[in-house]
Amino acid sequence: MTDIPQTGPLPDGQTGPRPGSLLVTDDRTKRRNRAEARFKAYGIAALAIGMAFLAALLWAILSNGLTAFTQTYVQLDVPLLEEKLDKDGDRDPAKLAKVSTFGYAPLIEQALVEQVEATGVETELAPKALSKVLSGSAAAQLRDRVLANPELIGQTVSVELLASSRVDGYLKGRVSRASLARDKNLDAEHLDLIDAWREAGIVEKRFNWSFITGADASDSRPEQAGIGVAMLGSLFMMLVVLVLSLPIGVAASIYLEEFAPKNRFTDLIEVNISNLAAVPSIVFGILGLAVFIQFMHLPQSAPLVGGLVLTLMTLPTIIISTRASLKAVPPSIRDAALGVGASKMQAVMHHVLPLAMPGILTGTILGLAQALGETAPLLLIGMVGYIATNYPEGVAEGFLSPNSAMPAQIYEWAKRADPAFYERAWGGIIVLLVFLLAMNLIAVLLRRRFERRW
C-alpha cells in the first residue's frame, strides 16, 4: 500500500477531497461502522431474545404436554351376566336401557377379581377397591357396547378399558408409591397389581388418539378427556371470524384510507378503531351477550356467537395493520393507474391492495392468533365450562349447538383439581399451536408471495 496517489493541491478556500486510501478506514468511518455493527447486533440480539423465549415457552409446553398424547389401557374379559343385564331375557332395548352404569359396575369388579386370580397376583384389595385402577368410564363403555349389541349378553367379552388417571400417571412416572401415601384414590398395592399386569400385557400404554378426537370428560375422569369437540368449536368460530373479519376489516380500511374525506368524522372513526383495539376482550363478551344473545336471540354457547364476538374483537387488529400497509403504498402507483383511466376503486383493488397484502396478512395472522387463544369473552357467552361433550351433527349444528373452544377447554382443564388434567391442558396447548400453525400456514405462504420491493 505504498504509492497512493495524493490528490492535487487545492485552491484556497475550497474544501478538498478528504485524503486517504479506501483501504484504510478513517477514524470517523470506523466509529460509524462500530455504530453500524452495534445497530446490527441489537437487531440480532432482539431476534435472538425473541427466539430464546419462544424456545423456552415451546420447551415448557412440549415437556409438560407430550405425555397427554399417550394413554394407558387395560384389557379385561368381562362376563355379561344375563341375570344382571336382562332379567326377563327378552332383549327389549327399553328394558336394557333401564340398567344404568351402576348396574354394570359389579360386572367389571367381578372381571377384575377374575383377572387378578388369572394372573396369580396376591392382593388384599376388595373388589370395589380394585376397580379404582379403571376409569370411571369403564361401566359406560361396557354399557354402550351392550346396548349396541344386545346379543352379547350372556357371553364373556374382552374389552379394552381406560385405566384410571392415577394408573396412567404411574406409567408416565407422575405417580409414585411415595406420592400415593395419603391418596385415598389408589394404594401402593394397586401398583403391584399394575406391575404384574403390565408384564402380562394386560396393561398397556399407547398413543392416545381419543385425546385428539374425543370430547371433554367430567372432573373425575381426566383419562377420558379429549379436545376434539372443542377443536371443532374453535374451527367453526375461526371460520366465522375469517369470513367476517377479513373482508370487513379490509373494506373498512380501504374506505378510511383511500376514499374517506379527511374530516372530523373520519378522524372519529379512526380514533374509534384504535380505541376498540384497547378494549379488554371481556368487554366484547359483555357486548356479545347483550347484542347477539339477549337482543338477537341467537343460541347460548354457540360457536356462531363466539365467532361474531371474536370478529368484533379482531377487527381493530386487521384494520390497523391494513391501514398501515395501505398507507405505505407509494402514491405514484395510484397515479399510474388513474392515469390510464382506472377508477379509484379499480386502482385500489387492482394495484394498491395487492401491494398492501403482506400487511393485511400479518394483521390476519396476529388477529386470528389472538382470536384463537381468547377465553375471556367466551366466558360471558357461555362457552366455558363443561360443554364440549356432544359432537355437533352436521355443519349448521356445528355453528349453532353448544360447544366450547380450545382455549376455553384448556383453561377449564388447567383449573381442575386432578393433576392429570394439567398434562391435558398442556397437551391441549400443543394441539392449539398446531392448529394455529396450520391456520397460519396459508397466510404465511401467501404473504411471501406478495412481498416485493419497489
Binding site: E36, A251, N275, A328, I365
Partner: protein
Amino acid sequence: MTPSWIALIVLAIAAAGFVLARSRALRAAAREGRRLHSLPGYYGWTAALYAALPALLLLAIWLVAQPAVTRMMVWPVLEAEASANAVPSLMMADVQRLAAGLDAAVETGRLSREAARDLPAGEMRAAMAAQGVALGSEVTSATRDAALRWRRLAGVGHLARTIAVIGLALAGAAWGVSRAAPDFRARNAVERAMRGTLISAALIAILTTVGIVLALIFNTIEFFRLYPASEFFFGTTWSPSFGGGSELGILPLLWGTLYISLIALLVAVPIGLFAAIYLAEYAHRNVRSWAKPMLEMLAGIPTIVYGLFALLTVGPLLVEAFGRGGYLGLGWMQGGTAVMTAGLVMGIMLVPFVSSLSDDIINAVPQSLRDGSLGLGATRSETIRQVVLPAALPGIVGAILLAASRAIGETMIVVLGAGAAARLSMNPFDAMTTVTAKIVSQLTGDADFSSPEALVAFALGMTLFVITLALNVVALWIVRRYREQYE
C-alpha cells in the same frame, strides 16, 4: 315462506338479472355499434344489485318491524285483563312464546290447524310443554286470544312480506336490465354500491363502539347511584368486600395498568422494532421467511402459558436477583409476583405485534430512498434511522399502538404474574394489578350482580374506554405531526 327462502329467491332473481343485463348491454352495443361505457360485467352487477339490495334491506326492516307492529296491534286484547302490576313486556313475551309454540305444534303435526285454534286456555301450558315451549305461567284466556290474534296477524304479515320483497326484487332487476344500455354508467353505479359497502364496513366499528358504550353505560350509571363517583375516581384504595363497606378507588388500578403496560412496551418495542429492522433490512430472505412466522407464534401461545411462565420461571428468577438475600443484595422484591414479572413476560408476548407489522411497513418503503441515502455514503443503520424509519413511522406507531392496546387488555399474565392486589406504589418489584384484571374478576366473581362490587366492573370498563380514547386522540395527533409521506 321463511326469511332465508325469501333471501335465496331474491339472490336467484339477482343472478338472473345479472345474466340478462349483461347480455342486453352487449347486444345493444353490437347493434348500435358503440362502445360500452363500462365492462359488460358491470351492467350485470348493476341489475343484480338493484334486485338484491333494496329487497334484502326491506326484508331486514320487515323482520325487525313486523313483531313491533304486531305487538302494538295485539296489545289491546291483553290490556283489558292486565292488572295494575302486570308487566306488559312479560305478558307479551308469553303471548309470543305461545304463538310460536302453536306454530311449531302445527308444523310438527302435533296439533291440527283447527285444534290449535280451538285449544282451551287451560290445556295450553301442558300442550306447549309437550312441544318444548316453556311458559312462565298458566295461560289465561286473554293470553290465548292474544296469541291467536298474533298468529293471524303474523300469517298476513308473512304473506305480505313474501310478496313485497320478491316484488321489489323483480322490479329492481327489471329496472336494472332496462338500464343496460351502452351509455349507462354501470361501473359508477356498481362502484357506488361498493363504496356503500366499504362505508358500512367502516361503520361497523362505530356501531361496535356504540354497542360497547350502551352495554356498559346503564350498569355504570347504576353503579354511580350506589357508589359515589368522586370516591371511585379519586379513591386510592381498592378493597371490595362482600359485607359492604367496599372501597373501590380506581387510581391504584389505573396506576397498575399504566405501570405494567409501560414496562411491557419498554420490552416489546425495542425488541420488536430491532427484530423488524433486522428482518427487513439485514436478514437474508430465507432467514426472514422462517424467523418472522416463528416470532408470530409468540402471539399465538395462549396467555395462560405466559402467565404460568411468569409465575413459575420469571418471578422466581427475578426474586433471586432482586429479592431479599438475592445475589444483587437489593432486597427490593417481596415475592415473585410483581409489576416487573408481568411486564417482562407481557413484553415478550407483544414482540410480534411490533415486529411483524413494522417489518411489513419497513419493507414497503421504496428502495429508491435507501439508495439515495446509501449513495451519500450513509451506513445502513444511518439510512434506517434517518430515512427509512421516519418514512415508515405511521405504520410503526400503528403497530406500537396495537401492542399497547393488547397490553392494556391483557388479564391472565397480570393475574398470574403481577398478582391480584391493587396497590399504589412506585416500586416495580411490588405486586399490583390492572383495571382489566379487575373487570374480569369482579364480573366473574361471587358478588351479587346488583351490588356495587359487581357493577364496578362496568364503571371500570367505561373509564378505561374513555381514557384509552383520550390516549388515542393524542397518538393520532402525534402521528399527524411527524408523518413523512414519501414521493
